[in-house]
Symmetry: D2
């Protein structure tokens, strides 16, 4: 008697995942497969259409949903699946091709691309080097970081889930800028990311031999993610914030560790406590931000495959700087699981549903 056969999920919210064959899509599916309130009704992939989930991702064989067949990414087919909500795990620019018609057909959307993260289409053009494909929707979209915009996400029909680097930079900085205990000028950020952040691109520089035993900065000074980082920091500070941001590629599969240098305001003797109190107040009801405390550094090992972001800090009184240390999973809190966190809010579920795996 087949045990697996009995493991049918209770009726859940019908969900589609559009563009599910990359690393972000795979992690998103992984979470949705064990989410108790999700009924996965459609997954699309141009390259994998016609194949079962279990064949594309052998890891998922054994799940009750493993027999689901990838379909072509066609609007009618997605609508016909009965999905009430679609996650878009597509490249920027492409996501809009689906967002516009799917919204019209009444689905709520959680977009993991960059298409709706910026409020200003000019900034989009500056950083993404092409015209914004649907500027009219920008005002309708909510930046999907539940720690900042939970109330808006609850009601949204278009959530723009944040980028991986931005989540790791914003989580430690926004509360401090809002509280005015760090200066908004002179902020420098160094981020270290695992190779899955570069996506499943078939590029010689992403081969194992090229990344293994290699450490390298890249993408500075105008990495695309800088645009949304500065947008949200500016909102927090109440004035235009410009920062220096340098990402690094390091040989791990997943995880981002971010180190932020900023100048504190006020007295060196109290800044440690002021940081602690600010975080405690700001993140009091937020289950996925873990405050490690002063003198501690975040380690990606503790957050990979979770929706947590960990934050520690040290005070460098010799230079008047505060050093913030944060860590998250670039595919998790930086992409897939954060999108599911927004989903939980949008559908009235406890925010942690399906996300308290360790």
């Amino acid at each position: 008697m087949c045990q697996a056969g009995k493991l049918m999920k209770p009726q859940g919210i019908p969900v589609a995942v559009v563009g599910a064959s990359g690393y972000t899509g795979q992690e998103l599916l992984r979470i949705l497969l064990s989410h108790p309130s999700v009924n996965l009704v459609a997954t699309t992939s141009r390259g994998e259409a016609g194949r079962a989930l279990r064949d594309v991702f052998p890891r998922f064989a054994g799940s009750p949903t493993a027999d689901l067949i990838f379909i072509e990414p066609e609007i009618d087919a997605i609508v016909a699946s009965g999905a009430q909500v679609a996650f878009l795990a597509l490249p920027h620019g492409v996501a809009s091709e689906y967002a516009v018609p799917l919204l019209e057909r009444g689905l709520r959307l959680i977009d993991l691309s960059a298409d709706y993260r910026l409020r200003d289409a000019d900034i989009y053009r500056e950083f993404y080097h092409h015209e914004h494909p649907a500027p009219a929707l920008l005002a309708r979209a909510v930046y999907g970081m539940p720690e900042f915009y939970a109330d808006e996400i609850v009601k949204a029909d278009l959530v723009a889930s944040p980028g991986c680097y931005p989540t790791s930079v914003l989580a430690p900085l926004v509360p401090l800028l809002k509280a005015g205990i760090v200066e908004s000028e002179g902020i420098s950020v160094a981020s270290l990311s695992g190779a899955s952040g570069a996506g499943k691109k078939v590029d010689p520089s992403l081969l194992f031999v090229e990344i293994n035993e290699s450490l390298r900065a890249y993408g500075a000074p105008k990495h695309r993610h800088l645009s949304e980082i500065e947008q949200e920091l500016s909102i927090a500070a109440g004035k235009k914030v410009t920062i220096s941001f340098v990402p690094h590629l390091v040989p791990v599969t997943a995880g981002i560790a971010t180190t932020t240098f900023c100048r504190y305001t006020g007295d060196a003797k109290t800044i440690g406590d002021r940081v602690r109190e600010t975080y405690a107040a700001f993140y009091r009801d937020r289950p996925f931000v873990r405050i490690l405390g002063e003198g501690r550094f975040a380690d990606t090992k503790n957050v990979v495959r979770t929706n947590f972001v960990d934050i520690g800090w040290v005070v460098d009184s010799r230079t008047g700087q505060l050093v913030l240390s944060s860590a998250e999973d670039n595919l998790g809190k930086g992409a897939g699981s954060q999108a599911v966190q927004s989903f939980n809010l949008m559908f009235g579920l406890p925010e942690t549903t399906g996300l308290l795996q360790f």
Copy 2:
């Protein structure tokens, strides 16, 4: 208001974990923390007594159980916790010191050490180089591989959960030996294991620099796990089986890939089908064995952090050999999650409860 605070588990079976500070203990705790029918009431560690779970394992902070305090491994304290069942994640030899009194005090036990895996105390002495500490209990113990002994496990009060290598060797071989389609003589096995299999020992040879960019065999020809492998192969074959077994240490954190060379019986043309049919019949109702099919090889990447064991094979008709390829997580199906699988059976839960994470 803290969301995490609301996430109290429904009343579950009160469970203790004895010796929880090593890698096996950590993985076992990880699974138990999100198991819907477990109420973790005690974890012991001589080295960590007095510290909270969240401090010893920062990864677990955010779990409703993260505030649990490690206690000293004392029988009275374990019993006082109200646990109905204890997992023993202790070194061989040490496990018995707890097994004997805890059984007397009425707890059911799942022992992840080697102490009760062998039916013959002489074999134990031969491979472990000391007298068996409690030979009288050997007859009472059940070898905790649910794919072979589910009926016995259901009723057992002492389950000896298998070793990591043995699980990966037995899963592909036992059905074929039982069916008589491979010969019981001349079997050679090469296994590759990640570094967590060596435990959290502070040994220079286990430093990152020593294992990274290194590939090496070790432990042959008489690795301790060979004793339980041969015991179970002999039972399957109905006669004494002796094999050559060579483990290798490779630079991954977790995962075992095993390649087994054996001679098939009968016609080369039909052996592929006979293997497929044998596996299909033997593992029909077993949710955690995934048969990949002929011409396919198992990849640890697909099983790490799961309770699955994957099996593929190729027929080498030029030499008359069948090559079996299997993969599992040494800490998962090879240790922690397999122990939880037995727990599910012992307490009348669906076998997959808490184990269908991907």
Copy 3:
């Protein structure tokens, strides 16, 4: 005054490398750049023609030869460089297109492809799935393993440098088969290889994320290298030898560890000594084979970026098997540095010239 400018090599043998942009070509160049008797006069690459060595391989910047410009792989241009010898680091099938005309033009050749390793064009067709491109040259080629064919290599104008897996299998097995102390039937071999062995192919399965934290067998039962392994084992045994061979892909950049299972002849008590004596005699004058001794296992960490192959063994008297453990660098003794070892012999240099780096 620039120190680097003074570092002109003494006049050396003019050498060309044809097809130098892959991992084997890169390692070969690395060795040649510091070889005291080599004057690198041409390197070719269809994709990199026109670029300097320093730009294609930033690692080589700082070498006196770093300004050499890659040229198109054209026969006239190679000949015009004045090269007396060419290393061919090209795919099988392609190498012949250069071997035939370059031999005609009077160059001596060291071919790192598989094109001239086999004595029998039928076997080539069976394993490489196309007709041999120049069967007439097979009789003229020498299998470039200096430990077996040094006398022939000295005089050869076409050396077929062995494959990476074959070197690691043949080094431990050939002396024992020749001495008759292992049986020629029932040999099984498991090899573990780093990712550089798969070449610089832009294939999704070779991305960092796919190989990192992954262990997998592949290529069995008829990996192409099996053809030359069996050819040389048969010569050693004096009769047809057929073996089972299973390669595995593991997450290191370079290195092969090979474990060989074979049955010993004669008495278990003496086999350890007989193996030791056989190796001592066979490899007495061979500087690049290091005999570790009984009970020891070879570790790739000790041989990567060298031309050494290390060999250890254990006797498994319970099963009558001898287990051989060998390690080499797949790009070194398994490719580039072994080719240079042949070069040294061909040009009357001490065999170790330029190869005693550690």
Copy 4:
């Protein structure tokens, strides 16, 4: 006839290595073994005394010097070896116990510890938390960075070879501070280091499983190396310089990548050229500094196991910052090979002798 036996080195300078069993000592020995002007006459190790080099470091078997026996670190024995120069690869504090008597006995010293890097014993106490063991020698020591102090090193009898992080920070910054094209205030540095930088300490946090798939900052804000970094930056700037420095531990064996944020002076339009020209002039005759140019980032993969340090940069005109990217091998240019570079200068050899391996 044994080839290896013939490979005796020509008579070289007699050299001792004191404290050769750690990772720095091992890398230093590796370089010395193939250095054409070195005659290694003594290596000491308290733990390994009595064992041959080949047994302690199996990688070195095959070298003509592999039979050298480790001796106890006793002054008389070191002097008796006939060494003219000793490399000290010992922990800070311990190095002085050997430096003082060995200098008295007439040896020249290259100390790889921190004991003689600082000019000010008070700074030593502040950062190393104990009194300086031999403050009288501080004035006699030369900071062993040949790019800055070649003339002094030539004549020195006590060279204090720089720390690994300092070399990677000073190489890009010192020329720019000296030229006044970056401001001396507000400098922030993020460095990423491989695990060998932590030494061969048997510490649970250095186990493979703890470092693999982990990214973490540590040691801020007062890592010991900060003391020598600030000393040399202050000399270059002509005034007291204080910086923020955050090291990170990442899962590679060797290599440091450093990213430096600093404010440029003058016009944004010309700063790129000014940096290029400054480096070109400063490092014109320095064979081991490779200037990659603007818009390029240094990759540790290109420098590991070499004595090179690579430098690139980008101008962030939006924030007025210059971002410097540098890479070196922490055991090479950051320790062992840089010490050999000083040795070459001290003994009148070409600076690159024995160091142009790639």
